[in-house]
């Protein structure tokens, strides 16, 4: 067995003082297996050592919350004993090294987190970020990631109902792949990871253990350099077929009463799953590694403990239920092995070939894991741009609109979501490409809406505002489909926490998320943190992804974004001030990257959203779309293209600059379509609620017109908007 020393510890990603702490705690030098266990549990990915003290501040409570952060996934109540289990998780580092397998296993991992809790997955979503479209790797990474996400989700038979794709040069060396899953469970039949009782059998089920993914979790906490390709063996390989069997077998076992606790083997595999179960139950655990089903010969205890082979679960069963449980796994052709038992030693004890190969007190690995109060700096609000008339002098609305509709971050993403099965399970009532995906709660009148959002540009310009904005954007997506926003999950993608600026971005984004989610009663119930998204000293823009869910008590009342009928009026809810700084227009047309992001007014945000839900409940809204990237004219264009209907935009009262008006990205706004006979009533309600609104236009013909300044036929914009991505991928 290898002699452990400081250098070996450093090679495992541990710091010198962390290694010293291990030796002090154990009062001896760890052996190589023990060192492996420590390095897996103490790395950033598993220990949250830089983020923990800040995550405590998140708003995680609410009447609707059944389970907040700290479990495999969060759980919220959606009435009638139904609950939704959901979570988002990153798989950034592996996806950059091996896009297909990285993305595929990201999807597999998050689905396991959800069905581990007893829920059948009912929808998948994802948020993916790539480098500049001119970067040599972007196309291949995008193609691989999309194929990986589809390859896994399609095979399992869970619809991918919504997502988000962004391009920015800050991701050139570190792409982001965040996968989210929603599952449906009876709220009285939720399974948790906390073990209970001594001498209970510990069961290993699923795939066999191989040498893939060893040290995956440590790799996920490392900074990339030129030699990153050498890390390929640390990427896990996915087998969605086995996962489908595992899903069905676990749900079958869960229908009975034999499971005490269950935990999927995700990051750091058998190590973290066994330790987490024991730690939560305040117990010890004993494992005989000889009994772990292995795919390869001569695997060492070290390799078995650190393998991240996929599609595996660890279960603590009631004593005496082993045979009945084994029958189920035999039926599904999955491995089933009793590999150990719970103990009252409060230690993890590992045996291999009748010899004890490791013994570590569990609290050394969990509670005593390092926690850092990293230094961070507060970001200043950038100075506003002062655009002058000359900046806009030579611009034409139609030309600008065309450029914006073919901006990589705006253009249609159908090329992507056509590769995802979004209709399997027969309950998808709003497909990708809308404000949010919506699936019915099978066999009921209810439906659940879900969307993922991020706004790295805003977060980069001012993290506190950006953090608030993403939560609000998610809230608006729920409102726009007519759903009551319930809760969120967050995936916090950041650079190197050891750098004060990056750490500051993290701290302030979390602060912003907290402030907005508290105000909107839109609590965070699950999530994860991905630090060290940095290559050769270049970090990504701060990118918190927010996955939101909402509830429709009657799915027939769902709202969509495509324009419906000629003669209907369009109103814009919320005030338009023409904030161009950090907008797509500023970047794409004016080549200006400075200034503060648009301000968030939480009071207006809540009022506007609630008032739209109120109008929906009275059946007064035909169509709704929130105004986000690209401003009003982009929003109108998308609604027009989807509905194949034009819009005559009314003259704007008191308008100073039409570019600011049409492309400004002021927050808290929605465009709604109203039947003429409901107009008076709607205006009355909005006035009574003191909601700011403007009459924007009327639905007609097949053109978008604004006086003599703009006359553009849908055919002219549709083709470019719809084809951009497809053409980019083959160019």
């Amino acid at each position: 067995m290898n002699e452990v020393n400081e250098q070996i510890a450093i090679d495992h990603g541990l710091k010198k003082d962390e290694y010293k702490k291990i030796c002090d705690l154990l009062k001896r030098t760890p052996n190589i297996t023990e060192l492996g266990v420590f390095s897996a549990m103490w790395n950033e990915h598993c220990s949250y050592k830089s983020s923990r003290r800040h995550l405590k501040k998140l708003h995680t409570k609410g009447d609707q919350v059944i389970q907040g952060p700290g479990e495999n996934a969060g759980v919220v109540d959606i009435e009638d004993d139904d609950a939704i289990v959901f979570k988002i998780e990153s798989h950034n580092h592996p996806s950059f090294i091996e896009p297909y397998q990285g993305a595929a296993t990201g999807v597999g991992g998050i689905m396991r987190d959800v069905f581990t809790m007893g829920a059948r997955p009912i929808a998948n979503l994802n948020s993916i970020h790539f480098g500049s479209i001119d970067h040599e790797k972007t196309r291949n990474l995008l193609r691989g990631v999309v194929k990986g996400i589809g390859g896994y989700g399609n095979c399992i038979g869970v619809p991918t109902i919504a997502g988000q794709t962004c391009f920015d040069e800050s991701y050139n060396g570190n792409i982001l792949v965040n996968a989210m899953t929603l599952g449906l469970v009876n709220k009285n039949k939720i399974f948790y990871s906390k073990a209970a009782g001594v001498d209970k059998p510990v069961i290993y089920v699923g795939s066999k253990t191989g040498r893939d993914g060893i040290h995956g979790a440590s790799m996920a906490s490392a900074i990339f350099d030129d030699k990153i390709e050498e890390k390929k063996p640390t990427v896990q390989v996915g087998d969605p077929f086995t996962e489908k069997l595992l899903l069905e077998a676990c749900l079958e076992l869960m229908a009975g009463k034999s499971i005490i606790s269950i935990q999927d083997m995700g990051a750091a595999g058998l190590t973290s799953s066994s330790i987490e179960m024991a730690s939560k139950g305040d117990l010890g655990i004993e494992i005989d590694l000889t009994k772990v089903p292995c795919r390869e010969e001569n695997m060492t205890p070290y390799e078995i403990m650190l393998s991240e082979s996929q599609e595996r679960m660890l279960i603590v069963l009631e004593s005496g239920k082993e045979d009945a449980a084994k029958k189920i796994f035999d039926k599904w052709n999955l491995d089933f092995a009793v590999i150990g038992k719970t103990t009252n030693s409060k230690n993890i004890e590992l045996f291999f070939e009748n010899k004890k190969v490791a013994e570590i007190p569990i609290d050394f690995l969990a509670e005593n894991a390092p926690m850092y109060d990293r230094k961070w700096i507060k970001a200043k609000l950038p100075k506003e741009n002062n655009f002058s008339k000359d900046d806009f002098k030579s611009l034409k609305l139609s030309v600008c609109l065309n450029k914006i509709l073919t901006d990589p971050n705006i253009a249609d993403k159908e090329w992507i979501w056509n590769q995802y099965d979004h209709t399997v399970m027969g309950d998808t009532i709003q497909k990708p490409g809308g404000n949010a995906g919506v699936v019915r709660v099978h066999g009921t009148n209810k439906a659940v809406a879900a969307a993922v959002d991020s706004s790295a540009t805003y977060c980069h310009a001012h993290p506190l505002t950006g953090g608030k904005q993403v939560v609000c954007e998610s809230w608006r997506n729920m409102i726009s489909v007519g759903a009551k926003p319930i809760a969120i999950t967050n995936c916090l993608n950041f650079g190197n926490p050891e750098k004060e600026k990056n750490m500051g971005e993290f701290v302030e984004c979390v602060e912003g998320i907290t402030e907005a989610s508290k105000y909107l009663n839109y609590p965070v119930v699950s999530g994860n943190v991905s630090f060290y998204n940095e290559t050769k000293d270049k970090g990504i823009k701060p990118t918190p992804s927010i996955g939101g869910i909402g509830l429709l008590s009657d799915y027939k009342q769902m709202v969509t974004m495509e324009l419906k009928n000629d003669g209907n009026y369009l109103l814009i809810i919320g005030k338009t001030e023409g904030h161009l700084d950090q907008s797509i227009f500023a970047k794409n047309i004016l080549s200006n990257h400075n200034g503060p992001p648009p301000e968030i007014n939480l009071f207006n945000e809540k009022q506007n959203g609630m008032s739209i839900l109120n109008l929906k409940n009275k059946n007064l809204i035909e169509t709704c779309h929130d105004v986000s990237l690209g401003g009003i004219l982009t929003a109108i264009s998308k609604m027009s293209i989807k509905g194949n209907k034009g819009v005559k935009i009314f003259p704007i009262e008191g308008l100073v600059n039409k570019f600011e008006y049409f492309f400004g990205e002021d927050q808290g706004r929605y465009i709604i379509e109203i039947k003429p006979e409901n107009l008076e009533n709607v205006e009355k309600i909005l006035k009574k609620d003191s909601i700011h609104f403007d009459k924007l236009g009327i639905v007609e013909s097949d053109k978008i017109t604004y006086g003599s300044d703009l006359k553009i036929s849908l055919d002219d914009i549709k083709e470019d908007y719809k084809k951009w991505l497809q053409e980019y991928m083959v160019s």
């Binding site: 399992i156 038979g157 969605p240 077929f241 489908k244 056509n418 399997v424 399970m425 027969g426």
Partner: protein
């Protein structure tokens, strides 16, 4: 009317098919792949999905599973056998239907609505549908139908082409071919027309809130003719 949906490990449209069959009046039962016998049925359905992970070739392992013998016997005695998507692939693997399903021409999984033209109504599957073009939904990676020239001639001569990809007006030309299938073939019969394999999923089109309702026409007609 009794129907049976076979579940293979990796099937994932079994529940959707069960919901659809029941909605239109079938008394449906689910049958496990490892069973030896199929309960008395008027219709057997092989659902979509990724049976046995689609490893080796789509549908090939399922084509050798224990239950398949009973399916073949049932089909050979004139029973109605419907294979959707992966079910179609399994039917070609068993030899109950001619030809094969290759990877889509553009090498991507495709999930979207398509139009198909009904080419033959002299059978229980399409007999009383009073439309020539149906809007259905596809979701597959290997739906590119192919067969030899001789087989194609025989299929055409025997009226075995069931549905072809087309536009909303029924033009089944090369511009309306999502996956490269020969002659735009989306579904075929055996010679006797009691076996139908097709890539589109009618079970996903049975509700105005889903992608469309033309699947309802398919099932309504089917139960009427069983």
């Amino acid at each position: 009317m009794k129907s049976s949906v076979i579940i293979f490990p990796g099937s994932n449209c079994d529940r959707d098919m069960d919901v659809a069959l029941k909605k239109f009046g079938f008394e449906n039962q689910m049958v496990w792949h490892n069973d030896a016998n199929i309960p008395k049925s008027d219709l057997i359905v092989l659902p979509g999905g990724f049976s046995y992970g689609d490893y080796l070739r789509c549908g090939s392992i399922a084509g050798k599973s224990r239950i398949i013998k009973s399916v073949v016997n049932f089909a050979n005695s004139g029973g109605l056998v419907l294979g959707i998507c992966n079910g179609f692939q399994i039917l070609t693997e068993t030899g109950l239907l001619p030809g094969i399903l290759q990877q889509n021409k553009y090498l991507n999984f495709i999930c979207k609505n398509v139009f198909v033209k009904i080419k033959n109504k002299e059978n229980k599957y399409f007999k009383n549908i009073n439309k020539e073009v149906l809007e259905l939904h596809i979701a597959h990676n290997e739906g590119n139908y192919f067969c030899s020239k001789e087989e194609l001639k025989s299929i055409e001569d025997n009226g075995q082409i069931a549905v072809t990809y087309c536009d909303d007006k029924g033009n089944d030309d090369e511009y309306n071919n999502p996956n490269g299938a020969i002659k735009n073939i989306a579904g075929i019969f055996n010679k006797e027309k009691n076996i139908l394999g097709m890539m589109p999923h009618p079970e996903r089109m049975i509700d105005p809130f889903l992608s469309g309702e033309d699947g309802s026409l398919f099932f309504e007609n089917l139960i009427g003719n069983v």
